[in-house]
């Protein structure tokens, strides 16, 4: 697996960790959707939902740091 340049790293969190037994708080206004990644479903924070042509895309920043557009299944 050579050659692909490293994407921008996601920002490393600073400050204090969330209290125990509580999930980390989402930034206000960001909703979450479940999408399929490989063989599993994961929840991601949505940056935007875009309709282009006859396809709808969920825009989010993936774990690898890339700006990613998940295509809604038809």
């Amino acid at each position: 697996m050579s050659g692909r340049a490293q994407p921008n790293q996601p920002p490393q969190g600073g400050g204090s960790p969330p209290p125990a037994n509580q999930p980390p708080a989402s930034p206000p206004g960001k909703r979450k959707v479940r999408i399929r990644k490989g063989k599993r479903w994961v929840e991601v924070e949505v940056d935007d939902v875009i309709q282009k042509g006859r396809f709808k895309y969920v825009k989010f920043t993936d774990d690898d740091g890339f700006e990613t557009y998940w295509v809604y299944p038809e």
Binding site: I35, G53, T68
Partner: protein, 323 residues
């Protein structure tokens, strides 16, 4: 290993989406309008005239309606349809229509002025997947049920010249194919044509970038067999998506391109955003997601990629209908 279908069309003067184009050129040297081409739909017709003393410039050259060749040949290669690096492809279908100053006569091997997709490496005019050269058929149309081969002459009339149509369906295993025209070393001929070609190839990661095979040949050599070439700019299979991305980054850092990983079903975009990815490409590849490797610094780079892909693939629509 699943196979996927590729289809493309070549429009040289006429176009697949026009039922009865009236494209023609004047090749009668006594005519006042000698060397002019009329009613061009898309692209340019082809005119062969070797005499550059009497005819330094033909009118159709001046007004951009023809490409002129100044030497005759037995067989002219118009372009490469696809050329894969060790990947299996199967040529399956073509339909070719030409308006030409020369008609199909006698032996159907000698389809003067009518383009035929040919697997590379065959001797000139050795179209052995077509009917035997010994078939002397003089009545038209021809239908050979054994190989599903059809040929027609003059299904409709044009002002000057003949209309020739052939169609073929079958299987020819090859790694590359070219579009060639049998000209029989004849001077002062013209032809305009549209040809549809269908082939299949192994599902693979794809490099999606229109490479100009003829003029950009040196960079193509530099692809180092990481991926193949196809006129569509889409059906260019390689072995490994990461290797394709690596080579494209190196060769075309300032152009827009995409790479489709057929395992993870991710479409990687470079100098592109989904705004520039046409619906027909999403329908063809059916990606789960798109990832932006790099946003375009200038939207004209991305637009150039989209326009060229549309030109080569949205062939069933007139340009004004292409989204």
């Amino acid at each position: 290993m699943p196979f996927v279908t590729a289809r493309t069309a070549f429009n040289y003067g006429t176009a697949t989406y026009i039922y009865q184009p009236s494209t023609y050129c004047q090749h009668s040297t006594s005519a006042q309008d000698y060397g002019k081409c009329y009613n061009i739909v898309v692209g340019k017709a082809i005119f062969v005239q070797t005499d550059t003393t009497t005819y330094p410039t033909l009118p159709c050259e001046s007004d951009g309606t023809c490409t002129r060749y100044t030497s005759t040949t037995w067989e002219r290669t118009i372009t490469t349809i696809f050329s894969y690096s060790g990947k299996q492809a199967i040529l399956q279908f073509f339909n070719s229509r030409s308006h030409s100053s020369v008609a199909i006569t006698g032996n159907i091997m000698y389809l003067y002025g009518l383009p035929v997709p040919v697997p590379s490496g065959l001797p000139p005019a050795y179209l052995w997947f077509l009917p035997s050269p010994n078939y002397e058929l003089t009545s038209w149309p021809i239908y050979n049920p054994l190989i599903n081969y059809k040929a027609y002459v003059d299904p409709y009339k044009i002002t000057v010249g003949r209309v020739n149509i052939i169609g073929w369906q079958g299987n020819f295993f090859t790694t590359s194919a070219e579009l060639r025209v049998y000209e029989s070393n004849v001077n002062n001929i013209w032809y305009a044509f549209d040809t549809v070609v269908v082939w299949a190839y192994e599902s693979s990661p794809l490099a999606i970038i229109p490479l100009d095979y003829d003029r950009d040949y040196v960079p193509y050599q530099e692809l180092r067999n990481v991926f193949g070439y196809a006129y569509t700019g889409v059906d260019q299979p390689g072995w490994n998506a990461d290797d394709i991305i690596s080579v494209l980054r190196e060769l075309f850092p300032d152009r827009a391109w995409a790479v489709f990983d057929d395992k993870s079903l991710i479409l990687y975009l470079y100098n592109l955003t989904p705004d520039f990815v046409p619906d027909w490409l999403v329908e063809k590849l059916n990606p789960v997601s798109m990832k932006v490797l790099m946003r375009p610094s200038n939207s004209s780079i991305a637009k150039a990629w989209l326009d060229e892909l549309n030109r080569r693939n949205a062939y069933n629509q007139s340009p004004s209908e292409v989204i």
